[in-house]
């Protein structure tokens, strides 16, 4: 049976309510950005010790998830797995939307957001940030081209090229995101090359979870058929990516423990860090990895759609916890300037730095997420993104029953 991708109707009250709701969240986010710009960062919880806060947790999460969301499309386009082909357009669309949302947060959080455009011509070739500006633009370009070759039959000849380009570019992009932190040699928490591969593995998990979170409601609300086969494949991917993420986390912390210098920092995150310790164990490990893993493999729950949905939600929550621990926790631990000494000063040297995000930061972060989702909701109405049916016999007629 031929798979046909078609725009959704998008005329129901529910559709407009969803789009309207997301629009409202975007406005709230913009309102927060306006206030941060007008009053300065004094209205946020960020300070001269915790210089990157909740906005960066959301932004980095969205950017990392963006590259991972492209994974499904890459499996189809690069690895030639036919069964994933109908799923690919949504994958590429999500990648573009998530990146846009993440970058919006990153830009609106700048001390001088009005000057963001300066990065376009005042380029510092040694800055990982500057590289990332190039990487983001390239990712938009390749992924948009890829999406176009999938949607427009006349562009077919470029399909392979765009697919490979987008795939390779997404690997570079996530490496670049990881390196933003990896290059901070002075900070105990960062300054390790391991951050780049770690981010790549995380991105696969986060992007796929968001894919599930968008696909399932879209088919339920759009009243289109969604067979078990597609969900089974996505579920299997999640299981593998959870295991890989858990492994990367383990390796990262074990390496840190191995280097005696990092021991204090490890003890902080794993044992004495208060909120960071809780977020690490309960958020990242239990909610983000263990529970979804069990739900996705246990005989009683592994075929349940609601459990798949619940797992995806938990993975995203775990992801936000992970970003919070990595970004904020990494800064909360004081820089060690004088080894062997207890440090004290008016600038909070030698102390664990405190940070409580303000409601403005939540508003900005959620607003950016809403930008990404609104783009998706709108695009599936005007573009032929979603297959009319993903019933089992449509997706894979030869699948063994």
């Amino acid at each position: 049976m031929q798979i046909i991708n078609r725009e959704i109707e998008g005329n129901s009250a529910g559709y407009w309510a969803l789009l309207g709701g997301l629009g409202a969240l975007i406005l709230i986010g913009l309102f927060a950005a306006y206030n941060m710009e007008h009053h300065g960062h004094v209205i946020t919880g960020m300070n001269n010790q915790i210089v990157w806060g909740l906005p960066h947790v959301f932004a980095v999460f969205l950017v990392v998830a963006a590259s991972g969301a492209l994974n499904v499309a890459s499996v189809a386009g690069v690895f030639g797995k036919k069964a994933y082909k109908p799923l690919a357009p949504l994958s590429a669309l999500l990648a573009i939307a998530l990146l846009a949302g993440g970058l919006a947060v990153l830009m609106l959080d700048l001390g001088r957001a009005d000057r963001a455009i300066i990065t376009a011509w005042e380029v510092n070739p040694t800055s990982v940030f500057s590289w990332n500006v190039v990487l983001y633009s390239g990712f938009f370009g390749f992924t948009a081209a890829y999406l176009w070759t999938m949607l427009d039959k006349t562009a077919k000849p470029f399909y392979g090229f765009a697919a490979y380009g987008a795939f390779i570019w997404r690997l570079i992009l996530t490496t670049g995101t990881g390196l933003i932190f990896g290059f901070l040699v002075a900070r105990q928490a960062f300054g390790t090359a391991l951050l780049a591969p770690k981010f790549i593995v995380f991105s696969l998990l986060y992007g796929t979870a968001i894919y599930v979170l968008v696909l399932m409601p879209a088919y339920i609300w759009g009243q289109r058929a969604l067979g078990d086969e597609v969900l089974r494949r996505l579920k299997n991917m999640l299981v593998v990516f959870i295991a890989a993420s858990f492994y990367m986390t383990l390796v990262y912390h074990l390496t840190n423990v191995y280097f005696a210098k990092q021991w204090d920092f490890e003890r902080f995150i794993l044992q004495d860090g208060g909120i960071y310790t809780i977020l690490f164990w309960l958020g990242q490990v239990v909610i983000g990895y263990l529970v979804p893993f069990i739900l996705l493999v246990a005989p009683n729950t592994r075929n349940s759609r609601s459990m798949l949905m619940a797992s995806a939600v938990m993975i995203v929550l775990g992801a936000l916890a992970q970003m919070y621990v990595t970004i904020v926790g990494g800064q909360a631990f004081p820089l060690e300037m004088f080894p062997g000494f207890i440090e004290k000063s008016s600038f909070f040297d030698g102390e664990i730095h405190a940070y409580t995000p303000s409601h403005w930061e939540w508003m900005l972060g959620i607003g950016g997420t809403a930008i990404a989702l609104a783009m998706v909701v709108f695009a599936v109405k005007v573009l032929r993104i979603l297959p009319e049916s993903l019933a089992d016999d449509v997706v894979d007629p030869h699948a063994k029953k």
Partner: protein, 242 residues
């Protein structure tokens, strides 16, 4: 030319200054050994720095901090969101209990991480080794604050309400740090507010490149330290006594 613009030109070692220097070469040679005349262009002949003698620095004394705040129009407040260009750090050795007190400010690294990471080039190092932020192109991303091993930088979190001084433009949403009193150096004053204010003469300002200068001679004679020397940043601020 208003004050700000004038400052900016000096700041960047403008071409005008080079022309000025070319016109009076004879005079220059005599001057050069000690300081840089105001008309002369910023050059790598100089490497300005500080030598801090922690054995002289008194615990609890904050004269240098106060002087810096006054010199640059900082409020002097010490909340988590307030700017501090220089702070007194009190050290207690974990084993011996030995105590030291010393000021920490931007270390004017020769290989400054803040400059490496800055996406716009707003964070830059002058030829004479002074590391500055160009407030006209800083976008307030704070990447430099993440990168600095000494926590030397502050973001201006709120409106400055006209507390700015003509020689020291600042701006809400931009990052700033110790300028090594660049305005004084460019005026040929050859000192910094903190060095002038220290009642114990614990802070010595000078040209590390000038073998005849007091700072260079002391560095050649006594053991001195860079904070986090392991990072290999070759800082312009050095310490003795720790």
């Amino acid at each position: 030319m208003n004050n700000f613009e004038q400052y900016r030109r000096r700041f960047l070692g403008g071409a005008l200054a080079t022309a000025g220097a070319a016109m009076v070469p004879g005079l220059m040679l005599v001057e050069m050994a000690h300081s840089r005349a105001p008309e002369e262009a910023v050059s790598s002949k100089n490497r300005w720095g500080l030598l801090i003698d922690t054995t002289k620095c008194a615990s609890g004394c904050t004269e240098c901090v106060t002087a810096c705040n006054t010199e640059h129009g900082l409020s002097g407040k010490t909340g988590p969101q307030d700017a501090q260009w220089i702070r007194k750090v009190e050290l207690t050795h974990k084993k011996s209990g030995a105590q030291h007190s010393l000021p920490v400010m931007c270390q004017h690294c020769e290989e400054p991480p803040c400059v490496d990471v800055c996406p716009t080039g707003a964070s830059f190092k002058r030829a004479d080794g002074i590391v500055l932020v160009d407030r006209h192109i800083c976008i307030g991303c704070r990447y430099c604050m993440m990168a600095c091993p000494y926590k030397a930088r502050s973001l201006v979190h709120e409106d400055l309400n006209d507390t700015q001084l003509a020689h020291m433009p600042r701006g809400k949403g931009c990052v700033e740090s110790c300028t090594l009193c660049v305005h004084k150096i460019d005026a040929g004053e050859n000192t910094t507010a903190c060095a002038q204010a220290c009642p114990e003469q614990a802070i010595l300002f000078g040209d590390l490149n000038d073998a005849g200068s007091e700072i260079a001679q002391r560095l050649a004679t006594y053991a001195s330290k860079e904070i986090r020397a392991d990072l290999g940043l070759n800082t312009g601020v050095r310490y003795t006594g720790i």
